[in-house]
């Protein structure tokens, strides 16, 4: 029921105009920024594994930006824009399930936009694509685990957002921007200064993106040393273990922040100045 309500709110996006904006124009423009950056420097060497690495990483990073941020953004949206958060709280629905419901809609929409970006990449930018060589079981399994992991991270962020009532406008986007840096999405972790690399190694997103790359374009992933020593199965296990760990932390944090937010009366705070 709670999830259904969340879904109904997000699926306002079935408006064709809005769908085009959020699922095609915005993500494609973001991808094109990287394409232009790469093209300017390498004189349009789009056949290189470096390009496929960053293009695929960026495409699938859409899930991070949309699912994780979407789940937490619901808090800001409901509190500041619709001012309905307090009413949700006094209604019998469960807030985490409601947030997850909003996440489900995001997953479907994001899947579409990732598909569009990949089609553009394959059609115009020499991204290698051979259905016979794709490891479909690995791809599907990784995708599912990854999405659940992202939803849990979203819950963590939702808790933080709830608690930091005074300033929540850009927090989701900012965190997504930060993780973009530490999860090997658009460059291998080796490019980071050595002291920052451990952050990438503890983020489940790094393993998830690696698994996605391996399942789709095995050859590209092999060109980068980051996780070369780890087998597919081990990568999957690491991803699963980290997902469970972050899941537990998220649920604990949500409960704690939720309680604190109620205690401090932050549920109906708005800051429009």
């Amino acid at each position: 029921m709670a999830a259904w309500l969340g879904w109904k709110i997000e699926s306002n996006w079935t408006d064709p105009f809005l769908f085009t904006i959020y699922s095609i124009v915005k993500p494609l423009a973001a991808a094109m920024i990287l394409v232009v950056m790469y093209g300017v420097i390498t004189n349009n060497q789009f056949g290189s594994p470096v390009f496929a690495y960053l293009f695929i990483g960026n495409a699938f990073y859409q899930y991070v930006a949309n699912v994780m941020v979407g789940v937490s953004w619901a808090i800001v949206d409901d509190r500041e824009h619709y001012c309905t958060l307090k009413y949700l709280y006094v209604s019998p629905i469960s807030i985490p399930y409601y947030l997850m419901g909003r996440g489900v809609a995001r997953v479907l929409i994001t899947t579409f936009s990732v598909f569009i970006i990949m089609v553009v990449g394959v059609a115009f930018l020499h991204i290698p694509f051979n259905p016979a060589q794709i490891n479909w079981p690995l791809f599907v399994l990784s995708l599912v685990i990854g999405i659940i992991m992202l939803a849990m991270l979203g819950l963590l962020l939702a808790g933080v957002t709830l608690r930091m009532a005074q300033y929540s406008f850009n927090i989701g986007d900012s965190v997504a921007g930060a993780l973009y840096l530490f999860s090997g999405a658009i460059f291998p972790l080796e490019v980071l200064p050595a002291f920052l690399r451990p952050l990438g190694y503890i983020m489940p997103i790094s393993y998830w993106l690696e698994l996605i790359r391996r399942s789709l374009v095995g050859g590209v992933a092999e060109s980068f040393p980051t996780f070369a020593a780890i087998s597919d199965v081990n990568l999957l296990l690491i991803l699963a273990a980290l997902s469970v760990l972050f899941g537990v932390v998220s649920v604990w944090a949500w409960k704690k922040f939720d309680w604190e937010a109620r205690e401090r009366g932050l549920l109906d705070q708005t800051n429009n100045y």
Binding site: V25, K26, I33, V36, L181, A185, I186, F187, P188
Partner: protein, 281 residues
């Protein structure tokens, strides 16, 4: 004895205009000081995202000046976000809280209210942008080579005038679009980051792209700033700085006049159709 004496003096004309500007900019300047968490969220976190693009350049072995372009682009992005979210869509939120009606019935001009919002936002954002530039330059050892400080300051000033002029103009437009405005602001993020060249020189685009992009003052402003602040800048510039300065002057005049015209139009239309007060009214 009366409980309250009459008001002894009411300023009108330019004094009232100035007072209105200061009055409306106050909440933005003070609001920010009151919530120090912006230092983290609006400087440190955008810095991480700037860093992501810096490392992409490092990963593909780009010349070091490109790292500087990203840092400057990141700082300029703070202004763009401020204009989008705290100028363009602001009148819509003001309407929802009931402030807009009170602004309109006050003798202070709406143009002054918009200008106050712009100056308050500009001040608050400048602190963020300076933070990003300082932090970015230190972390990534950006090497600036200033060709002409005067021109650089002039370009920055004109970019801000025209940028916030654009924000003032779109505020009226967005008010009439109501909720759709939120989506249009969203639409004006990534595509604008792309065509305005926040992270790379726009010279590499086919000429029509920067021409279309020049409607956003940051396109010309950043291209000129790159030319004036980096060693390799002049060779990567789209058109000459002087032409860009002229362009920014034209944009400034156009947007500020447009802001005034649209504001009047919006007020007339909204008064006729009853759209000035909150939706529940």
């Amino acid at each position: 004895m009366p409980m309250l004496p009459p008001v002894s003096k009411r300023h009108t004309g330019w004094r009232l205009f100035l007072m209105t500007v200061i009055g409306r900019s106050y909440p933005r300047v003070v609001g920010m000081q009151r919530e120090r968490s912006w230092i983290f969220f609006d400087t440190f976190l955008p810095m991480l995202s700037v860093a992501a693009y810096v490392f992409v350049y490092r990963a593909i072995k780009a010349p070091e000046d490109y790292v500087g372009f990203v840092v400057v682009g990141g700082a300029m992005m703070a202004y763009w976000m401020n204009v989008l979210w705290s100028m363009a869509s602001q009148l819509y939120w003001e309407k929802e809280t009931g402030n807009l009606a009170l602004y309109i019935i006050s003798p202070g001009s709406m143009m002054a209210i918009l200008l106050g919002m712009a100056l308050g936002g500009l001040f608050a954002t400048t602190l963020r942008a300076v933070g990003i530039i300082l932090l970015g330059s230190l972390l990534f050892q950006v090497h600036f080579v200033i060709a002409s400080a005067t021109q650089l300051i002039l370009v920055f000033f004109l970019t801000m005038v025209s940028l916030y002029g654009l924000g003032m103009m779109t505020a009226s437009l967005f008010l009439l679009l109501s909720r759709e405005a939120w989506h249009i602001s969203n639409l004006a993020q990534e595509p604008i980051f792309l065509i305005s060249g926040f992270y790379f020189p726009i010279k590499n685009f086919p000429a029509w792209v920067p021409m279309v992009g020049s409607f956003i003052p940051l396109t010309l402003g950043m291209d000129a700033m790159r030319q004036l602040a980096f060693a390799s800048g002049p060779s990567l510039g789209w058109i000459s700085v002087n032409i860009e300065i002229m362009g920014l002057i034209v944009l400034s005049i156009m947007f500020l006049m447009g802001a005034r015209l649209l504001l009047n139009y919006m007020e007339r239309l909204a008064v006729r159709e009853g759209r000035l007060t909150e939706s529940r009214g």
